[in-house]
């Protein structure tokens, strides 16, 4: 039992950190530009694929930096020649633009790489066991992912708190109109933030592609969950995104790793429901089957009861 809890916690932490790497960029973009970037997870996917291709020539360590930069450049192009053009028509076309972009990116990935998973592996230098607990090995790569995420969080925090650019970004998170009034070139700020946000997602992809699988469906797998995190954490709040990522990551891992249903509680207090009863499906429903439902349930409940999320200052 303890073993399950400890490992669920460790794995949940890891999953949560990966979620955070995606959602921090999205929450910046969303909070500032009001764009619900549907293609955000697609940039995460591009990060994984780019790192895989680059890694074949330059090795993993160079790719770890180069892939996010390349994806960030793509993000800048997307903002400059795509989103900005659509911006004048309002938020709905912006949303639809990123929605279509997600389609196109997925198809392009299929075109260039095919539908099969890539053989994208961790570098040999990280391919060892860090420690052994309860007879189960904990790979060093997972610890590496955690380190990358923590470094990213600290870097982001310092950037937002200590630099001039960070101050402008923070300002536009709460009052975009005032930042414009101060004479900053808001479209250019938008472009940089979009590029930066997509680069963060790509960084998540570089390590996430190894931890999970690198295949064309990976964006679609992550996309909706990242929205849940951003909404739960609160618009534009990086600490909120961190907390929400942890909650979702650990919750989902736990539910998946413990085999549990209402019937267990029932048995405990001495109530049983016959298998052919009307409520039997719900009664005997395995927690592993509830796991995919949970994030969406959280999303809907958050939006109904607390549209600001955990740490957000404004309503969605």
């Amino acid at each position: 039992m303890l073993e399950t809890i400890v490992f669920s916690l460790l794995n949940g932490l890891l999953y949560g950190m990966l979620l955070f790497m995606l959602s921090s960029g999205l929450t910046l973009i969303f909070g500032m530009m009001g764009v619900l970037n549907f293609a955000h997870a697609s940039f995460y996917m591009l990060g994984a694929y780019f790192a895989y291709t680059l890694g074949m020539y330059t090795g993993f360590w160079v790719a770890l930096f180069l892939a996010p930069i390349l994806v960030g450049a793509l993000g800048a192009i997307t903002e400059r020649w795509g989103l900005r053009h659509v911006h004048q028509h309002g938020h709905v076309p912006e949303l639809l633009f990123t929605f279509g972009l997600a389609y196109v990116i997925e198809e392009l990935v299929r075109l260039f790489y095919g539908t099969l998973p890539m053989d994208y592996r961790m570098p040999e230098g990280l391919d060892f066991t860090l420690f052994t607990l309860f007879g189960t090995n904990y790979p060093a790569f997972r610890a590496f992912v955690l380190v990358v995420a923590v470094v990213m969080f600290i870097g982001l925090y310092l950037l937002l708190k200590k630099t001039r650019a960070g101050l402008i970004i923070q300002g536009s998170l709460s009052r975009p109109d005032i930042v414009a009034a101060l004479g900053h070139n808001v479209p250019q700020v938008f472009m940089w933030v979009f590029a930066f946000g997509t680069a963060l997602a790509a960084l998540g992809g570089v390590v996430g592609g190894i931890h999970f699988v690198t295949e064309p469906g990976m964006a679609f797998m992550m996309g909706p969950i990242v929205f849940v995190v951003v909404v739960l954490g609160g618009l534009g709040s990086i600490p909120g995104a961190l907390i929400a990522s942890m909650i979702i990551g650990i919750l989902q891992t736990f539910v998946l790793s413990v085999d549990f249903s209402i019937a267990h509680i029932g048995a405990w207090i001495g109530v049983t429901v016959p298998p052919d009863h009307l409520f039997a499906t719900v009664w005997y429903l395995d927690s592993t089957r509830i796991a995919p439902v949970l994030p969406f349930l959280i999303l809907v409940l958050t939006l109904i009861f607390r549209p600001r999320g955990i740490m957000g200052k404004r309503e969605a």
């Binding site: 659509v86 938020h91 076309p93 639809l96 679609f220 929205f227 995919p292 999303l299 109904i304 969605a316």
Partner: protein, 433 residues
Amino acid sequence: MSTIQQEASARANAVGNVWVRRGWPWLACLIIALLAPMVFSSGHDIHMLSSMAIMMVFALSYNMLLGNTGLLSFGHAVYFGFGAYIAMHAVRWSNDAVLDGTGYGIPIELIPLVGGLAGLFFGILFGSFSTKKAGVVFAMISLGIVGLVEASSLAFTGFFGGEAGLFGDREDLNSLLGIAYGRSLTVYYLMVFWLVVCALLMYLLKQTPLGWMANAVRDNPERAQFVGYSTTMVRFLQFSLSAFFAGVAGGMFVLVEEIVTDEAIGFLLSGEVLLAAYIGGIGFFFGPIVGAALVVYLESNLSAVTDAWLLYFGVLFIAVVMFAPMGIVGILFQQWANFRAGGWKGTLPARLYCAVATLVGLLGFVCIVELAYHYLRSWDPGRPMTLLVTTVDATTATPWLVSAAILALGLGLLIFHARPMLKRAVDAAGGGK
């Protein structure tokens, strides 16, 4: 004739004209729908036509939200899906009743209505809390709901039939009219019937007080409140009614396919209906109809011709969002209005020139995409491929260069020569009223 009489007869004429003016697209559509099976007569084609009818109802119901009320939903397939599943349960129950000889069951003609009522029920259920706010909050709640439902469809296998889905048999249903619906052509005409009924009802709904206030709430929610309307209530009613029609489409789907899987309730279909409505044009009643026909046609025919069809699809959508937010029908309408106002006079050559340049650029783009798919995805890239009228080897440079040249030529002409020319021509013709 006295002036009063003249006025009266002029008004009578005008009334007649109004009927002709408003009626002709309907009549044209109906005739096309009835005659289409003569042209598209293969089994595959008839199936496609039926799918079009279903998608049209679905896209129209979607536009009750996006176009009329300004609600962007990413989860409209939930109501289509519940309509389909419950209609399927009704079909199965009726199948049992008919086969056992224990009862009459629900007649096949009314199965879509069952789907509609199911859609209405779930529309009321989910609409009661999701329509409190519009905008991004609504969009995200709709996303949450569709995620919730799609994920649950795998958990509750009793109702959703698990991954295999649910089967039913339309031939083992009673018919009100005593018609046997074994042939897909017969079912197609049933689909046309429901399409016409639903389209007419949705058209009329736009003209009711609720339909008007839906527009009012979309354009200026605050003012709508100050003339006595609760914006939440308007959105909720509109949402529920829209879910009803989505459910009808789901019920129609069951009769054509005789199988429902979780594809009918999830993200993908929700996205597809959004694409269909938007590409067609959400500001026009006939927009979603055209969009649905186009999307289903591309899906069912383009996928056989090229592997790249999803890419084309996505690019088409982005192009519409970026350059033609009023959709295909919107562009046609704009050009038509322009033509009627005499705006084409003197600018026709420039307009044609623009169109040709665009087409040339498009041709180059298609060639490159096809080459890329052949080169990257074919088992043997060196195998000769047919491109347009010639056969080329995708591993050599020539076809690539030629395609790129065509693309560059088309785009170059359009951006640097044709568009400026059109602009000058329009200016010269007096602002192109």
